[in-house]
Symmetry: C2
Subunit: 205 residues, 2 copies
DNA sequence: GTCGGCATCATCCAAAAGGTTGAGATTCAG
DNA sequence: CTGAATCTCAACCTTTTGGATGATGCCGAC
């Protein structure tokens, strides 16, 4: 039985590659989308069994938002994330948004095909080298930062000093320091550079 | 007249995509390599007109080292860098290593084909949106950091405090501070987070 | 040999960052 | 309504960072 697939990637070359690799007797590629918006429209019309979606989609909404929107369709396609990156926060975010699986782009074509079939059957499918990491991430969840704290953290990571952050957010430096103190406590670090490094490593920002 | 090409990319899917997109009446794909080492061996035997090479090649040597090695072959193929990333230092590094051009992966297939033909003729070919940036980069060259300074910068970017850096490098904190002062002057910044951010943005680290 | 670049270290001072504690205001769920 | 979380701010203090200046030794270029 053939599984129908919609490809979502902002790189034409990757779409062509996926199409060439996937379009076999067990998988049928219904269409391609370059953006998340396009993917949602196409999926609503084509009703693919599975949507194969990149996380980074250039302009417009990202893969996680796309996943959430796709899963809200009726009938909802299974969403398989296929990406180059393996940042923890993003994997967990994608799964929270309803993704059926997560594959890295450097896997062999057969693994992608297997993942598609598994996703179509309603299974979860994680690239083997990611599975342990995800479980690890769920045991050691990154503390939840509030929106404001994330905003401060992002500004910090661009090299902004407390004064700069205060000016950007229209608050006093005391407030910024307060947020930063909370961030440090939650991330268990004691310097902005460590906080930045940790945040970048885990995909928090 | 057809131009012969060797593909170098660590992602099977991208290689398939490139092959599907490029193998036309004017371009002939001679072979594919997944690593830089493989690319050099293959190029020495197949004598392609052009090598289309990703910058990030997973394990092993990177695209810039591969470029340099390829350009040392006789006859030397033209090397066209095709990558997702657009960091300044890498573009300039690739060109220094002898690359004939630099393309971003999100361009249309026709642009890649045009780039291949131009490279085969000995022209330089830069993605249009990169050209101005590269010229800009050559007018405002990033100051050359010494090896030691780069080492310190890299440690800084992992969140290490001066004391940590000093311990790692077996020098005193005073020395670390001295290096950092030089780094700041050269990069024209006044805080480690800004230095880290700039270094990451420009691909310095 | 001399000069310049580099790495090493030191001292002194000022500024920024970080830690602690506490507190007012708002919002939102139970 | 009450309590918890969040965002805001303040005062105080310690540590870290950054800036300025200068000194030593090494090495390679001229």
């Amino acid at each position: 039985m053939t599984t129908t697939v919609l490809l979502v990637d902002d790189h034409p070359v990757v779409r062509s590659g996926l199409r060439a690799v996937l379009d076999t007797d067990t998988v049928h590629v219904l269409g391609e989308a370059a953006t998340g918006e396009e993917a949602i429209t196409l999926a609503a019309h084509l009703h693919p069994d599975v949507v194969l979606c990149d996380l980074r989609l250039g302009a417009g909404i990202d893969g996680i938002q796309t996943t959430a929107a796709l899963r809200a369709l009726i009938p909802a396609p299974a969403v398989l994330i296929l990406t180059t990156f393996d940042r923890d926060a993003e994997i967990l975010g994608a799964i929270e948004a309803g993704a059926a699986g997560y594959l890295l782009k450097d896997v062999a074509p057969e693994v992608i095909i297997e993942g598609i079939h598994r996703a179509a059957k309603g299974d979860m499918f994680l690239a083997p080298d990611l599975a342990s990491r995800v479980l690890q991430g769920m045991r050691n969840p990154l503390p939840r930062l509030t929106d404001r704290e994330l905003e401060v953290l992002r500004l910090m990571s661009t090299g902004a000093a407390n004064r700069d952050i205060a000016r950007t957010l229209f608050v006093t430096e005391a407030t910024v320091k307060s947020h930063i103190a909370h961030i440090f406590t939650k991330l268990d670090v004691d310097s902005r550079s460590r906080a930045i490094h940790l945040a970048q490593e885990t995909g928090l920002i």
